[in-house]
């Protein structure tokens, strides 16, 4: 029986090795890995979907209706609902983040698929990008008034020694929590499915070759299989919810800096 390696599915390996020396940096590795391939698949799927769906028909077909529904959801619930009218400029950014993360999560669930979002490097990069966007927008909109963000309204100045460090830390920890949430959910979901799938085979083999009460292993194998089906269904829900949560948190963070003086 093959060894049970729950973490093996997350290994990144090079498919097309590309390495070349760059003056001042040494060897630069831009190899095409399985992670890169699945990212390209996701990007082309999104582009393909929107090029075929966006026919601008007066009566939308299935694809166009789905595309309009997703766009309307992000516009109405996320940027419109959380940020308000000033959130309209951020709609493309939030919509792209939502679609990319959702697609990466979903194609990772396909058999043989590689979950790009289970790599901390990928989620970390996305989180830093989101965080820098919030910082840049905050300073561009408010100038040095950006630092009012760390001064809760109505705070007594004597409390500032306690509250300012807390506000500052809770602001600086955001990219870490964003990255860890997606990474942990994807890693956890896939590992749990893998472990239950290994129960199906392990208990099944034990039940087939055993005598007497050992045959109960077949029952356990069947139960584990039902569990795999249920967990896979749950993973599909989580894949979309995590993309939604990322987009919603991006909107909440943007809302704080965009509507700093209004208290929306």
């Amino acid at each position: 029986m093959a060894a049970i390696e729950p973490m093996e599915q997350f290994l990144v390996h090079k498919v097309v090795p590309i390495e070349f020396p760059v003056p001042g940096l040494g060897m630069v590795d831009v190899s095409i890995t399985n992670s890169v391939i699945f990212m390209m698949i996701a990007a082309s799927l999104i582009c393909l979907f929107f090029f075929t769906a966006a026919k601008r028909a007066l009566v939308p077909g299935r694809g166009q209706a789905l595309a309009e529904m997703m766009y309307g959801m992000v516009d109405g619930v996320l940027t419109g609902g959380i940020i308000g009218d000033r959130g309209r400029p951020f709609l493309p950014f939030v919509f792209t983040l939502f679609l990319m993360i959702a697609t990466l999560n979903l194609i990772g669930l396909a058999p043989g698929g590689f979950t790009v979002t289970s790599q901390l490097a990928v989620t970390g990069t996305l989180a830093v990008m989101t965080f820098l966007t919030v910082l840049v927008v905050g300073f561009a909109r408010n100038g040095l008034g950006f630092f009012k963000l760390f001064w809760p309204s109505g705070m007594h100045p004597a409390m500032s020694a306690f509250l300012l460090p807390i506000e500052l830390i809770s602001f600086l920890i955001r990219p870490f929590t964003l990255a860890l949430r997606l990474f942990g959910n994807m890693l956890g979901g896939h590992v749990v499915v893998y472990i239950f799938a290994s129960f199906v085979i392990g208990l099944g083999v034990w039940g087939l070759h055993g005598v007497g009460l050992n045959n109960l292993g077949l029952l356990g194998s069947g139960l584990a299989f039902l569990m795999v089906v249920a967990l896979t269904a749950l993973d599909f829900v989580i894949a979309v919810i995590q993309a939604f949560v990322w987009a919603a948190l991006t909107c909440v963070y943007l809302n704080e800096v965009v509507n700093l003086d209004h208290g929306h």
């Binding site: 619930v77 996320l78 609902g81 959380i82 929590t177 860890l180 949430r181 942990g184 959910n185 890693l187 956890g188 919810i241 939604f244 949560v245 919603a248 948190l249 909440v252």
Partner: protein, 74 residues
Amino acid sequence: MDAQAAKYIGAGLAMTGLIGAGAGLGILFGNYLQAAIRNPAAAAGERTYLFLGMALAETMGLFGLVMGLLILFS
């Protein structure tokens, strides 16, 4: 007890952080459902905050997962 065994026990103990996340999620969704049944008209508007709260509650549990991974693989 050798160091490897202590590592595994520690990683398992680190996952007890998920108790809090589970309790938090239960409280969150239970209270949301209660409120949604009492006032179904207002339920849709609060769903965004439901998912936000879910994300924040979950993060605390995932810190436990990270500690477990750190203990196992470092």
